[in-house]
Symmetry: C2
Subunit: 367 residues, 2 copies
DNA sequence: TTGAAAGCGGTACCAA
DNA sequence: TTGGTACCGCTTTCAA
């Protein structure tokens, strides 16, 4: 096979002139094992072994190995991962399915997953479901079609069908943040019960008794746990639980609904002394409405957020929050997934990561 | 071929009993075109055509089509995308390379890219470079090995080698946020010059003359543009430019370096009346330090941020910012990329998206 | 109207 | 020590 005279030129080094019979539309083409084989007169199998570091194991002579490796380097040979994947039956990709990749909570998780996975040679494909069951289902399917080797899913929790299917297939996957209590799977989440308890207790310790919970009406296990923990914690401290103090907003309209909720909680006869927001974005929307009213925080009403934003300390007032270990979720999820991919029958692991209360002025002492 | 009696059962519908000669480790296996072919006694090629919607075009009889389609549906046939990709020479994946996927700016872009790309049948693989040239290079290569059909890159801008290579290969890609002035490529960015001008002018209009710029020392074109625009705008308004008022922080140590910078700008003989921060995170770090000092914003010093965070309106004081159209960047980038993938010789498009000044109290009137 | 067969670019088993 | 070859699952061309 003839090589073109540009071979040493930088930009063309990874292309090669192919014999006529191989030419299609382009004259220059990325080189393949086949090409190396023909150029060197060595079989594809030997080349494949050597290039995959199994030259010694296969007892290929030093000389041959040298020849192959230097040729490959010189022509900048790069294996086609689709072909390898097809052949090996694994793609070296993992899929990440979350409600919204631009939510800082999931973005942080994604960052860690990607970083960690990359170290083990995996790339990650991601998709946002927008909390829609249908999209989640489609997206999971599309990742499976792509032959991902494993999945990390923050499910909308209305999709037990797919989750069960994955489980029954013994497909490696890890649920994060939300799990299906009735389905036994790998799961990495946070300690919602402890988190909310610390939030409520912080309010109690600073003298509040009438404490509201602003949460979502969406059917998510973490949300439910937060609600339950809120009630339990109140009771534990001898505070009578009043169900009118729980406001569950619709995910789609929470931003606009927030106004009425906040008004109801802050002005009028039934006003409260403290509010726990069930998520970081609820806190932001809530605070935005509170600032429109003639009340002061924390004197008139104290706030605690479950989940943090990077700027809570810069707000007025600085917002007390229960910090969720997002990066750690990513770490653990990948850790389990990698093991699950090696051992399809890995015993189910369920991890609940501790939260951390970060006290700031929004729940400081009452005047 | 015999089919197992579980065929209608939900969880097994997408598996099939294979003849002995096909059995490997598992008895149940996803079905392939081959399997359908053998079961139905119809050739793979016909089945492939029909399942890809080219049945009529190929003049396959209604009857046959019907048979194929219903069999496929019943057994939940899903094409193996690796195989299809290998065969078609395209993977239907696009790669996204950004400095940090958990930075809200890029996370928002990513969300849009993913959503839009998905509509056109593409999945997206992402990676964060941490502004490292080496990692960027590796990651791009790894995406190419994966055979992505196109790339969207927010480059660290020290990687002209790879960018040139992509360009010379005629590989479809679009740069976002950062471009290489000396390399003609597709590019979607923002109007940094106009953005900074509006920031500086806002400060000037509210009575400030001594205005500082806190920026990064990193060699990024947008950063450079911001710096230049800052100087030009001052001159344009007859304000003498003082180079000591530009503080360029190191990307790695900006958080800790910020303290000295802020002190220098706010206390002492050379104090300024206004500060422009070149990025949203610099603003956050800066404000954090300012709050430690006995000065009030905007009376003693006014602030404007280039780039927004979702909670700037909740801060104390609410932060005036120049909002960057992150979602739109994603939109445009995908738009161009899709066209570039169809037409490899698409004329280079360079888009500069307008910013929007959002005035808040941090640069309100001086007392 | 349908099918055979040659790829796509690797991997891996088994023979030489 | 090395190579032949079947195969991974799908697409596509061309012949029947």
């Amino acid at each position: 096979m003839e090589t073109c005279s540009y071979l040493n030129s930088f930009f063309l080094a990874d292309f090669i002139h192919l014999p006529n019979r191989f030419r299609k539309h382009a004259i220059l083409k990325k080189i393949s094992l086949q090409d190396i084989s023909e150029s060197l007169g060595i079989s594809k199998s030997t080349i494949s072994s050597v290039l995959n570091g199994r030259g010694d194991e296969k007892r290929v002579s030093k000389e041959t190995q040298e020849k192959i490796i230097s040729f490959a380097k010189e022509h900048n040979y790069k294996p086609n991962l689709l072909a390898r994947g097809l052949s090996r039956g694994k793609s070296d990709m993992i899929g990440l399915v979350v409600p919204n990749i631009s939510d800082i909570f999931f973005a942080r998780i994604a960052r860690r997953i990607e970083e960690y996975a990359e170290q083990s040679g995996y790339n990650v494909v991601f998709s946002s479901t927008g909390e829609s069951k249908e999209r989640e289902s489609q997206l999971i399917q599309s990742m499976l079609d792509r032959q991902v080797d494993g999945l990390i899913i923050a499910s909308c929790q209305k999709n037990d069908k797919d989750i069960l299917r994955l489980k029954n297939r013994n497909f490696p996957f890890v649920l994060i943040d939300r799990h299906y209590p009735e389905i036994n799977t790998h799961y990495v989440g946070i300690d919602n019960v402890g988190g909310v308890a610390s939030a409520v207790e912080q309010l109690i310790h600073t003298g509040r008794k009438r404490i509201a919970l602003v949460t979502l009406s969406i059917g998510l296990e973490p949300i439910r746990e937060r609600s339950v923990s809120y009630q339990k914690t109140l009771r534990k401290h001898g505070i009578q639980f009043d169900k009118d103090l729980i406001h569950a907003l619709d995910y789609q309209s929470m931003e606009t609904d927030m106004q009425d909720v906040i008004k109801a909680l802050i002005v009028g006869p039934n006003k409260v002394e403290g509010i726990v927001f069930a998520t970081h974005f609820l806190t932001a929307y809530g605070l935005r409405e509170i600032k429109k009213l003639p009340v002061s925080v924390p004197e008139d009403v104290a706030l605690v957020s479950l989940g943090q934003m990077s700027a809570f300390d810069l707000m007025e007032p600085p917002v007390t929050s229960v910090a969720l270990p997002s990066s750690e979720i990513g770490d653990k999820a990948v850790d389990i997934l990698l093991r699950n991919m090696l051992d399809t029958n890995l015993e189910y692991e369920k991890i609940s990561l501790k939260t951390e209360l970060v006290v700031r002025r929004s729940c400081g002492n009452m005047n």
